[in-house]
Subunit: 224 residues, 2 copies
DNA sequence: CCTACCGATCGGTAGG
DNA sequence: CCTACCGATCGGTAGG
């Protein structure tokens, strides 16, 4: 029996009812209608980088616009508010985190839980520390700036993500390889990983692989 | 040989040269000159609470003033800038954290390293999660808002705090009770503890003592 | 510590 | 997506 739960996201359908904003004024320069999404994503990537670097409140929408060569009012053509940009960054972060996690679980089949756990930890570090992966760190550290409704919405994605961890921890616990209560262990372990955002430096110190090995060794006993 | 390093802070002498600001205008209402310091500390406690709750950028100096019944300009009689308030919060947080840690180390004498470690972890949780202890959480989560000079200054206090951990971890490692490299283990363990600020709820779930037990069990093997 | 104020910046919008 | 702009808020200060 595989211990790795599939957490492929359900189709989402909560684009807001007011999302049918039509372009006004100057028409598209080219026939290529689809670079609309590209500009939007450019904004999102710039926002993620700046939010991570300076924080949500310390980043102005003007900063974000300038980072992609737009003028001050233009981001509001793509997003209806600064808060909507923050939420979009976090949502994209969670979707890619869930996708990476699912991929890590593919094909581990009936592997030993310690092997599966190594895959989950490795994927988590990659999501947090991989170059250009600013989206999830923003989610972790700018949570406070969300509205209540946004928080509720994101909580579902987070629960979905963490769903994969519990059965693996339980399997390890049954085998005597985990020596703390599963629920607290999950919180402590995820905390240890999440905090790495604060000190990890890709240019010096341990690599992501070394980090993963250290974490697995620290938290779980050998299956010997 | 005791494994617990004394980290009593050295006398600090870096009150800035411009700290001799004299009171102007309306004289003190009473003869009690010494409630000056009390007002300053009231401001600090209110700032810590608000910074923790809403973040540094989202808290205005007006909010802080209102929280202690002052008017908008008055905090600047006690602190020369908002940034100086942030630094003062963090500095006070570190001093009390170091004091609590030193106390936890007193009298453990030649106890087994696992016992000493339990004391360090317990003290750390108390510093982070004890009721009214907002100062260190602010330090952990608002680090980004410091100036470079402030960061350098605080780094010394942080290094002093973490000094106590290394020899204990090394002792545990020698005994085979710690299964990851000491340096990475320290980063991961402190991260697990620091992250508890995000999810701990004094009104439900585990108590600080249960948390401490779970952490010790998770990270360290029995000395059996 | 209060009053009154300043300059700067910010999120957001109308209209094209 | 740009131009031009508004109202609100903010950190900080002079003077008492």
């Amino acid at each position: 029996m595989s211990v790795c739960v599939s957490t492929t996201p359900p189709k989402h359908k909560h684009r807001t009812a007011t999302a049918d904003r039509r372009p006004r004024g100057r028409p598209r320069k080219t026939e290529d209608e689809r670079d609309d999404g590209n500009r939007r994503h450019e904004l999102l990537a710039a926002a993620a980088r700046l939010f991570r670097l300076h924080g949500f409140d310390a980043t102005s929408t003007r900063d974000i616009a300038a980072a992609v060569g737009m003028h001050s009012g233009s981001p509001f053509y793509h997003f209806k508010s600064k808060g909507a940009m923050l939420y979009a960054v976090m949502e994209e972060g969670m979707r890619s985190a869930i996708a990476r996690q699912s991929k890590a679980c593919e094909g581990v089949g009936a592997a030993a839980p310690r092997i599966v756990m190594r895959g989950l930890i490795r994927a988590h570090f990659e999501t947090l520390l991989g170059s250009g992966n600013d989206f999830v760190p923003v989610m972790l550290y700018e949570h406070r700036s969300l509205s209540a409704a946004q928080r509720t919405s994101l909580a579902k994605l987070q629960a979905q993500y963490e769903l994969a961890w519990t059965p693996v921890l339980e399997a390890l616990s049954r085998r005597g390889q985990l020596r703390a209560p599963v629920k607290l262990a999950r919180l402590l372990i995820l905390g240890a990983l999440n905090w790495s955002v604060q000190w990890f430096d890709a240019k010096k110190g341990a690599s992501i692989d070394e980090l993963t090995d250290a974490a697995v060794a620290l938290f779980f006993e050998d299956g010997a």
